[in-house]
Symmetry: C2
Subunit: 463 residues, 2 copies
């Protein structure tokens, strides 16, 4: 341990109790990793502030000696942003879990960074409101991590990304300066909107400590349907039809390509909603205000799509239990895919108009490199966001094929998971040198000593 | 003219034609002012690039000698951001008016900075789509100015601010570096979202040259209603009822307080939709997908509100002509108010829960300062955004009373017009020193020579 670190520890111990500053053997191994599947190192120091003022004090002390930090929320990230690298301490927001009662008139809620997503969802629900973001890791992922990664998920189509839910933030800069903007006004052009800086910048520009989040009216009806279709083109046509006929009623539009669905249902405990064998499956959902009518409207459009040959087969949920069961099938993709070791997995955006060509070309190239490769694709088709997995003996080639295909199609190498440590070598495929230089300018302006999540998204410029 | 300016002019003349570089008598007086009502100076130099590359070249040359620039779109701003100050040259985007055909499948459109808002609206409409932002200055205000001011207007309730419409931007930094991000992906977490920097920063961080904008399905029905109510509380209750019963159908919710409506209709050419005398008037609008049913649903909720005593009187539009006529009444507020000289006028956000107390307290304080003062208030109640005008012999006192009241209520000194030159002295009432210091950090990082719209929003820090 170097001299400045010893000095930092003595300053921390003088100011904070032992539950706030974990050192050496007191550090649980769980602080090493996130869900990216790679092993981090066990940090020598874990900071666990309880208040924004404590975050500011800790950052100021670390900044003074250049102690690098990795910021931890629920550690459910999939891009390695929270994985600990040698020499990094952890700043965990896990003890900042206060949440205010929702403001029903303004339709807002204020929560600290460590509050799990599901707690926000439940608080909104109990007040007769809805929080617009939902993701599989809802029980563990936190407000702070959701802000830092601009979380996406299954209802972006209707409510937008996490960015669209943020009406205000409190964040602490590397030097300990606290920026508080929690008024929750839907319209505020009084100077720069600094909140935007911290959304999706993966903890590299500041530490989010609190958020004021937008809530929506709770829908009176939720109905979903599971459809078998002959092609991606048919799934895109169905999306257009549902948008045109149902407008904002449409709240989710998920896709699952063959052979993933067949492989999933082979190991699923619950009965499959439709038999395997179709090239494409879609889960569509509506949320409406007229419980006596929305389901019928939805069913009528689906029946029209069957008659017009767009859909080959369909089941529509008839009860909350059936509604939940169809979502369980969707989420079962994760169970199946996490069970396969060493899977190549990417989270990409592709313009709908170029998606079919991208999928065809990528499959040909991957099978040329490895004729035994299996390709599993599902995702949020309504947003052009696919989770594309390859089981292959040639993982490096597969990554290269997919990401270069994405770039050629005008897509994104990360749609919703972020760049973290694991995808930064591909960032240049989709962002220009001028853009990456501008990101470095921002980083240098807000974290000149480069202590916050260093090396995430991009490496600091040589000095 | 100083030596470096002569040098700049010779470099500009060597590279650009005379239509691109206006000097001295060739500068039309229209370049001096915006709509803020105060006189700027006639600039000695006006730059009129035709392409992004030309913008970059011009900025690079100006940056090299520190020539300050004020960026011009449609010059319809109300906060003085485009008003020319001594020593400033003008960079006008008026010749960058190219617009692509909408991409119907992706529901996006790409337009250059000088394209008027109404041209974007019409292009969307012709493709069976809708652009979500509408403001009174639609015929003149441009894409670039709309981005720079994060324009609001009448449909924020449904579609969000201009920020929510921006899927990508092309912008040029002060040093001539071009950032292009026009892929138009609804989901893209591949590194920092740099677009956010340029939205609402009033041209101080870079010059927007192109935008990729989100379009929405065109509604099959548009119906509006004009209501007389007994109080602000009743208007807020009606807003809650419409939101709960109609969900996303509700697309606008505008308010007009006594005595403004009475004063307006006295000079209006068209017949008044309702007699004067009520304390509050509301214009509510729905946009729906079911032309045979939406109007009935809307009318049924309004009738329920009449029966429950929430609304005192109401007319519902029965034809596109009546629909347009009700909107004309709303927009007539500007005709009436622009006809009064020396009016104190502010654009504020107030949380709905504190709006009644704010209005009462401000009126008492203003009448105490000037018992002959007239107060005219209208605005976008669904967003908590009021345009508050005072006809008074004590304008300085009135500004002070209103802005301090706004700050005390947790509101914003600009909801949608921005800060510009004219409101910066009040910015500190609603933004902390730490926040303003962070804005200066951003400005210094992206425009270190302070050439772009200098002194707008805040003054540069002393060096």
């Amino acid at each position: 341990m170097t001299r400045p670190v010893e000095q930092l520890l003595s300053q921390l111990h003088a100011r904070f109790d032992t539950a706030s500053v974990l050192v050496g053997d007191a550090v649980d191994p769980r602080y090493s990793d996130d869900l990216s599947g790679k092993n981090g190192v066990r940090p020598e120091l874990v900071l666990r502030p309880r208040t924004t003022a404590e975050v500011a004090e800790m950052l100021r002390l670390c900044n003074d000696i250049g102690q690098r930090l990795v910021v931890h929320g629920g550690r459910t990230g999939l891009a390695g942003a929270a994985r600990v690298e040698p020499g990094e301490a952890v700043l965990s927001l896990e003890r900042m879990t206060a949440i205010e009662a929702p403001d029903r008139e303004a339709a807002t809620i204020v929560a600290e960074a460590g509050v799990p997503l599901q707690v926000v969802q439940n608080a909104a629900d109990a007040a007769g409101l809805l929080f617009g973001v939902d993701i599989g890791a809802r029980g563990t992922a936190t407000v702070g991590g959701n802000v830092a990664t601009n979380a996406g998920g299954i209802r972006v189509l209707r409510y937008g990304m996490y960015r669209a839910q943020v009406l205000g933030l409190e964040a602490v800069l590397a030097n300990g300066s606290i920026l508080t903007s929690l008024k929750g006004l839907p319209k505020d052009n009084s100077g720069y909107d600094l909140n935007q800086l911290f959304i999706g910048s993966e903890g590299t520009l500041g530490v989010v400590t609190r958020a004021c989040l937008r809530l929506h009216p709770k829908p009176a009806t939720e109905v979903n349907a599971f459809c078998a279709l002959a092609s991606l083109e048919a799934a895109i046509a169905l999306l257009g039809l549902l948008r045109q006929r149902l407008g904002p009623l449409l709240s989710a539009y998920e896709v699952n390509f063959s052979p993933l669905y067949g492989a999933m249902i082979a190991g699923m405990q619950a009965p499959a909603p439709l038999p395997a064998g179709a090239p494409v499956y879609v889960l569509a959902e509506i949320q409406g205000t007229e419980s006596d009518r929305d389901g019928e409207r939805f069913a009528a459009v689906l029946m029209q799509a069957v008659e017009e040959g767009v859909i080959d087969d369909v089941v529509v949920s008839q009860s909350p239990r059936e509604f939940r069961a169809l979502w369980d099938v969707r989420e079962d993709a994760n169970r199946f895919l996490f069970s396969i070791e060493g899977l190549v997995g990417v989270d990409i955006s592709i313009p709908l108009a170029r998606m079919a060509a991208f999928l065809r070309d990528a499959e040909v190239a991957i099978r040329t490199a490895d004729r035994n490769a299996e390709i599993y694709v599902f995702g949020h088709l309504g947003d052009g966001n696919l989770h594309y997995q390859v089981q292959t003996s040639e993982p490096a080639l597969a990554y290269d094929i997919v990401y270069r295909g994405v770039a050629a199609a005008g897509g994104a190498v990360s749609a919703e998971h972020g760049i973290g440590l694991d995808k930064k070598k591909w960032l240049h495929l989709v962002r220009s040198e001028a853009e990456i230089a501008a990101m470095r300018r921002l980083k240098a302006a807000f974290d000149p000593t480069n202590i916050l999540n260093p090396g995430r998204i991009f490496d600091a410029a040589p000095r």
